[in-house]
Amino acid sequence: MRTRRSIDQWYRDPVSCLQSTVAALLLADGQDPLEVLGLAWEFRYLPGDVRPEEFYWPCRVPGDPVASLLPYHPARSRWRTTAVADPLAELREALAEGRLPVVAVDNYHLPFRPALNDVHSAHLIVVYDIDQDGGTVLVSDAMPPAYDGELPVADLLRAWTSANPREQEAFFSGAEIQGRWLDVSLGGPYPALGPERLAEALRADAAGFDDSAACHSGLAGLKRFAGALVEAAEAGNARLVEEAYTFGWGMQAQAALHGELLRRCGNAWRVPSLAEAGRRVERTAHLWTPVRVTAAHGRGAPRDCARDLRHHTERLEAGYRAALIAIDDAVAEL
């Protein structure tokens, strides 16, 4: 028996399926996705941790991407693996308890994805209803072309258990899907976002960026990442260069959402410096583009793109510093 007719979707062009699926859960819970997804801003690069998946996120809480994505909210998540005997049982149980499962899939097997029968790619969708008798599930995918509707169980199972073999464009392929799904507890309702709560988050973010002892996070981590990327290119290490495209998506998406939120709050609260700080943060998101795209196009001849990667990562670091100075100015006015 169906329990839901449909769920709302939310999308911004810089986000990945990690943000868009969590946004769908937030909407279903009555939360404003931008307010929640855009509250935190950080840099974190974990060498050796990057997986070729659209939803890769460098976790500050090991194994918990949603808690890592939302450090100022009591949200939690854990990866689970479906049982072979009754693969839909856990999803059914989660739905019965009011939780929306976020399911890992290989786009190659999904009829509504452009990659169908073309490119293997690890992706996330929300399953929000199961019609066991009809042999279908209802799924939501906000990534263009957005889809909300039925999916035959047989297609879901193919996508959900795919080996996701490595493609020539290996940014999101080569990591087995293995029947994984993300069991998310949002822990809401959340307190309203006002100037005091935002300022508290901005101060915590700033402390994270300023932590000079951090190896893989903050401005020190960004500097190390930039150096490692250029060194990898100079050494002809195509695998590490290629990885920058995958890794950078999460950082780019978070910066874009954080910047948009600051701009929105700055305008709503009539704090021009906050709106301007938001724009500075958005610019850092845009400065990720040439880093990611240069790495992606240059992976075939990494040494040839080393100089450009140095140039683009230096601009990226400068962009982060400028944004943090602007945020510091804005916090003083909140």
Binding site: D13, P145, Y245, P290, D308
Partner: protein, 218 residues
């Protein structure tokens, strides 16, 4: 996301001279084009706008003819012949007819959002960097306030034509703030930037510097 619908600000126009009577200079990019950004359905595999081999549907672009967008004339190259149809930014140095200009207009798009710089070189030896901002071409809104010159109905993939994913061709402008005679524009080294056509607009004739403009034009 942007809804997929056939939409275009492009208007057909007669063949443009290199410099129009209204003071627009159409840049000749023929020697700089280095990327296939639009494809015909029978050459989908030639598309290389982004890392995934997506491309504009050539049939939905005003290919190989003069057009007017936002009152600005452009010369679009022939698209869909599996030959380079746009300039992927790689530091190209594009010489222009020396004159005083107010704006550089481009028909362009980006592989994800871009904020970069164009370097303007002037005859007096000065150089200015001005912002080049382009929104994503892949089903994205105009986050930098561009005009959507063309919103296609479909997106080309290497092996198929995809409905409901529009490709966006933006009409963007870059200010030439220095009141001096421009001689060249240098694109950034940024493979996410794709320029299909570009036109410079002369400084208003009612503004200071008319004498210099006339002098520059000989």
């Amino acid at each position: 996301m942007v809804r997929s619908e056939s939409r275009s600000l492009v208007r057909p126009a007669p063949a443009w001279p290199h410099r129009t009577a209204e003071g627009h200079h159409l840049l000749d990019l023929a020697g700089h084009r280095n990327n296939v950004g639009a494809t015909a359905p029978d050459h989908l595999g030639a598309g290389a706008f982004n890392i995934w081999g997506n491309s504009f549907p050539a049939g939905e672009l005003p290919s190989g003819r003069p057009v007017l967008v936002d009152g600005v004339p452009f010369d679009l190259p022939v698209c869909g012949a599996a030959a380079p149809d746009n300039v992927r930014a790689d530091g190209q140095f594009i010489e222009v007819a020396p004159a005083r200009y107010d704006w550089l207009y481009v028909l362009a798009a980006a592989e994800r959002r871009v904020e970069d710089e164009i370097a303007f070189h002037f005859t007096d030896g000065s150089v200015d960097f001005e912002p080049l901002r382009l929104s994503d071409f892949w089903a994205a809104p105009a986050v930098f306030g561009e005009s959507a010159a063309v919103v296609t109905e479909v997106m080309h993939y290497p092996l198929h034509v995809q409905a409901d994913v529009p490709a966006m061709l933006w009409c963007q402008r870059v200010p030439v703030t220095r009141r001096a005679v421009l001689r060249a524009a240098r694109l950034p080294r940024n493979p996410a930037v794709h320029v299909f056509a570009a036109t410079l607009r002369e400084a208003g004739l009612d503004m200071a510097g008319v004498a210099d403009l006339e002098s520059a034009e000989g």
